[in-house]
């Protein structure tokens, strides 16, 4: 067999290995806080006979208000019912950011799910009592993708600095990457914002079973409002920021994260 024929097989195998390797690593879920402001024209220009005026309306965004939008969206509630079997988001729910879950939103135009699609990193609405609703995924009842939100880090443009003790394996790392924050309640409100994010890692010493206590802090400002919509009005988001922190045990192969991530994702890009 010619080598050129082997190349596609090798590529498929590399991608499969990459996904498999990701699946074997479990990152702690980052309890995420989201805040920002959005400006838009809530009303048409008004003319008093002498002057015509139009004003901007500015509103705030918080974790609580975004969850309120989801709660008040019939589209979201329908999906929620299909996916979780419940028709309401419990009070006190919050967002977590899941580096472990890279949901692929399959493009139906490419036929079989899994062949092609957009990979997005999961934003999950959850609470302390076991409720969990991933904001992007596949609704098997409706037999369709749904996409109410995600928080992506750039798959390729991820750079970092780190310091690691050769003996203990402990150390720290600071990564820079491009990020995209997407939110859509399916009810006339959408945020699609970009920025440069910082991921700060603190790794403890490596234990005998090759794991190390790891703290991950994310500071993801998304100041660049790109395709924002508020109540069906064109809008511009400002100062949107997603931030949070989590601690858990992670297999030591992940440190430094930016190199591990790139080794995995460069094949899938």
């Amino acid at each position: 067999m010619k080598l050129t024929k082997l190349a596609p097989i090798a590529m498929v195998a590399a991608v499969a290995l990459a996904y498999n390797a990701k699946a074997q690593v479990s990152f702690p879920l980052v309890n995420l806080t989201i805040s920002g402001t959005v400006s838009y024209n809530a009303a048409s220009p008004a003319d008093n006979g002498k002057t015509t005026k139009s004003a901007l309306t500015k509103v705030s965004i918080t974790t609580k208000s975004l969850i309120s939008l989801l709660t008040n969206s019939p589209t979201v509630i329908s999906t929620l019912m299909d996916v979780t079997g419940t028709n309401q988001i419990p009070a006190g729910s919050y967002f977590v950011y899941d580096l472990n879950t890279n949901n692929v939103l399959y493009d139906p135009n490419f036929g079989t799910p899994g062949e092609e699609g957009e990979e997005v990193m999961a934003l999950i609405v959850t609470n302390k009592n076991g409720f969990s609703f991933t904001l992007a995924g596949y609704d098997s009842v409706a037999a369709a993708n749904y996409d109410y939100g995600f928080l992506n880090i750039d798959q390729v443009n991820l750079i970092g600095s780190y310091s690691q003790n050769d003996t203990t394996g402990a150390g720290s790392e600071s990564d820079l990457t491009g990020i995209e924050f997407y939110f859509n309640d399916g009810n006339g409100n959408q945020l699609d914002d970009y920025g440069n994010g910082v991921m700060t890692w603190s790794f403890g010493k490596v234990s005998t079973n090759s794991v190390q206590k790891t703290t991950l802090s994310v500071n993801f400002p998304a100041p660049n409002g790109c395709n924002d919509i508020v109540n069906y009005n064109a809008a511009i988001a400002q100062n949107v920021k997603c931030s949070g922190k989590a601690t858990g045990n992670v297999v030591s192969v992940v440190f430094p994260f930016y190199l591990w991530w790139l080794e995995l994702d460069i094949f899938g890009y």
Binding site: T37, A43, V59, I61, K64, L69, N189, Y232, N233, A234
Partner: protein, 169 residues
């Protein structure tokens, strides 16, 4: 010795003994050493009355002098976790707890408290945020406190009566 004098002396002695007993009890309690396990800062839960004008409550300091750096960080993380939970509630007690942490000795907790106040989303927090800002020497923190106060003065993005669409999704 006259009986009246002896009686007076006995009465005086009883009074002195009684006073000594009371003083011993009071000072004995006050001098009890604090527990070294007590580390954080769980801000006090105050009354459930509506916080119409919350007053800054001095936060209980993290006793950093008896904690290792790891223990200190654990205590800070625990308090910031609590702040995040309080921020998702809607009750006055949670708001009071958040506002109490605006004056916590740990900067990381104060920063988390500012964010929690924003997330809680009550205009009742504005006077306290401004009052704490007026008493803060850290310029960056002052700005953050005032920005949080301004943020809370905005209405939240929460719509129940849609207007005619102007753009296509």
């Amino acid at each position: 010795m006259r009986p009246k004098f002896v009686f007076a002396m006995l009465l005086l002695a009883l009074l002195v003994l009684g006073a000594a007993f009371i003083f011993k009890q009071h000072w004995g309690n006050a001098a009890a050493p604090p527990s070294i396990n007590e580390s954080v800062t769980s801000a006090p839960v105050v009354s459930a009355a509506p916080p119409s004008a919350p007053v800054p409550v001095p936060a209980v300091p993290v006793s950093t002098n008896v904690l290792t750096p790891e223990q200190r960080q654990t205590a800070i993380d625990a308090e910031t976790d609590r702040l995040q939970q309080w921020s998702m509630n809607d009750d006055p007690a949670s708001l009071s707890n958040i506002l109490a942490d605006l004056t916590n000795p740990e900067k990381e907790i104060r920063d988390a408290a500012i964010e929690a106040a924003k997330q809680f989303g009550s205009t009742d927090a504005i006077p306290t945020l401004k009052a704490v800002a007026a008493n803060t020497t850290d310029t960056e923190e002052q700005i953050a406190l005032l920005e949080a106060a301004n943020f809370l003065s905005l209405p939240p993005v929460d719509f129940r009566q849609p207007t005619p669409p102007k753009t296509q999704q």
